[in-house]
């Protein structure tokens, strides 16, 4: 039982990271109807920026904040320059472009920072808590995610710009008639998603170590979480991400060797999707024609 609870809690910690990235995916999907396959690599690149700052003796939380700002701006630039031209192109073109971005960021990181694993500092001490049920590091990761979610909730719920972003995602034509500049909302959305992804990257890097391929598996789990929750639902994405994190840990502990974890995840995805094609909280996908 103790082992079980331990695995659940550490699963929640990694689930929180998947949930963040899943949320970033869902935000962009809702706004532009496309899946950003580069989300994970963008997060990885942001994490390298944080790593450089920390190495330059910037205090951790200052480096964290600065990285979020840089990622936000970077995300906006990417939307403007790379995504805008294919916004109305067929789905396949958009998929190919975001995969292209994925490759470019991966290669850029490999070229700039090499493929060797780097240690990334954790802002939280690694002490066991509550009779070793969870570590203070896990708790820290969960807390950061919760704070971020709360901030996002307040932003989208209570600020005018957050409301305008929701309106632009839901009904762009009507949003324009209200005087909302939909293009600008999309740009901000990409910026926000990049910043959320950066948070996920910085939280996961102390666990996985930093290298250009670090986010490959994370993206897949986040994607699974997003689909599990229903790719149109932000709340679903968070819950889906947590479920994936816990399941991954339990499967790894009790069922099979960890090399097959991804394969099991794949099978789980297919099973879930066959029975609930729109995920747990999502609405039916309308095909873009």
């Amino acid at each position: 039982m103790h082992l079980f609870l331990q695995q659940v809690f550490s699963g929640l910690a990694s689930g929180a990271i998947y949930a963040s990235l899943a949320l970033a995916l869902v935000m962009i999907y809702r706004a532009t109807d496309l899946v950003n396959f580069a989300q994970g690599e963008m997060a990885m690149f942001s994490t390298y920026i944080a790593w450089m700052l920390v190495n330059a003796a910037v205090p951790f939380w200052a480096a964290f904040a600065l990285t979020l700002v840089i990622s936000f701006i970077g995300g906006m630039i990417i939307e403007r320059v790379v995504i805008r031209p294919v916004e109305n192109a067929p789905v396949l073109a958009a998929v190919v472009v975001t995969i292209g971005l994925l490759l470019i960021f991966n290669a850029l990181a490999g070229w700039l920072f090499t493929y060797t694993l780097q240690e990334f500092p954790s802002p939280f001490p690694d002490r066991p808590l509550f009779g070793a049920l969870l570590t203070s590091r896990d708790l820290g990761v969960i807390a950061v995610t919760l704070v971020m979610l709360a901030l996002l909730f307040v932003f989208f719920r209570f600020t005018t710009i957050g409301l305008a972003m929701r309106a632009a995602a839901q009904n762009p034509a009507s949003a324009r008639l209200c005087g909302i500049r939909v293009g600008r909302m999309l740009t901000i959305g990409w910026g926000l998603a990049a910043a959320i992804g950066a948070t996920a990257g910085i939280m996961v890097a102390p666990i996985l170590f930093l290298d250009p391929n670090m986010m490959g598996g994370v993206l897949l789990y986040a994607f699974t979480g997003a689909l599990l929750g229903g790719i149109t639902s932000p709340v679903g994405a968070v819950i889906g991400g947590l479920i994936v994190g816990v399941t991954e840990n339990l499967v790894g502990t009790y069922l099979i060797a960890s090399q097959l974890k991804l394969t099991v995840a794949l099978i789980l995805i297919v099973i879930v999707l066959v029975f609930r094609p729109n995920g747990l909280f999502g609405t039916a996908i309308v095909r873009r024609v």
Binding site: T160, R166, Q170, N171, A173, S174, R176, C178, R181
Partner: protein, 235 residues
Amino acid sequence: MAPILQLHAVKAFYGAFEALHGIDVEVEDGGMTVLLGANGAGKTTTLRAVCGMVRSEGDIVFAGEALQRRSTEQIAAMGVAHVPEGRGTFVGLTVEENLRLGAYSRAGKPHDAMTRMYGYFPILADRRRQQAGALSGGEQQMLAIARALMMAPRLLVLDEPSFGLAPRVVEAIFAIIDRIRREQRVSVLLVEQNASLALELADQAYLIETGYVVASGSAKALSDDPQIRRSYLGY
């Protein structure tokens, strides 16, 4: 009184297809103009041309400023509030959020304006926390009009506000439109299938057929025209 909106020789295009072949339409400041015509005649296209939602040629002047080459967002911010076909409410947002969005392009707190709208449409006040998608058709139409009025517009553009609604609801909505237009001094450009009701309220009317204006004049003159009575009023 100078017209607040003037269309001169306006053509509109969907891709290469020309839907309007050079039409002239005016809305007096504080007046109400109605566009009549069969389905597919180009009425909605005219409204879309005004709001920059289709490619157009010719002159469109609103309050002394040319609207060409301006984006829909800019035109909205200038004081043109468009309630599109099918209402265009944000069904996933609450009634109150919809109204807040209406005030997006205006500075300051939307609180006073919102109170005024709840005065016109008390049912919306009761449902302010509900999702717009849960409202009935008539309530959604009211919400759409209220949202447009939140912009404190000088021109209200309405595309078939009676569409799909019961006659009693239609009458209620038109009564409120008439009242608001006098109290808020807002001009109205209206597209409407219910010609008899529209001609009662409007002061100017245009009849559009296959992309041309085929008749125009005061609403009274048009409602007395025997041809129009036969084709559009049914008596």
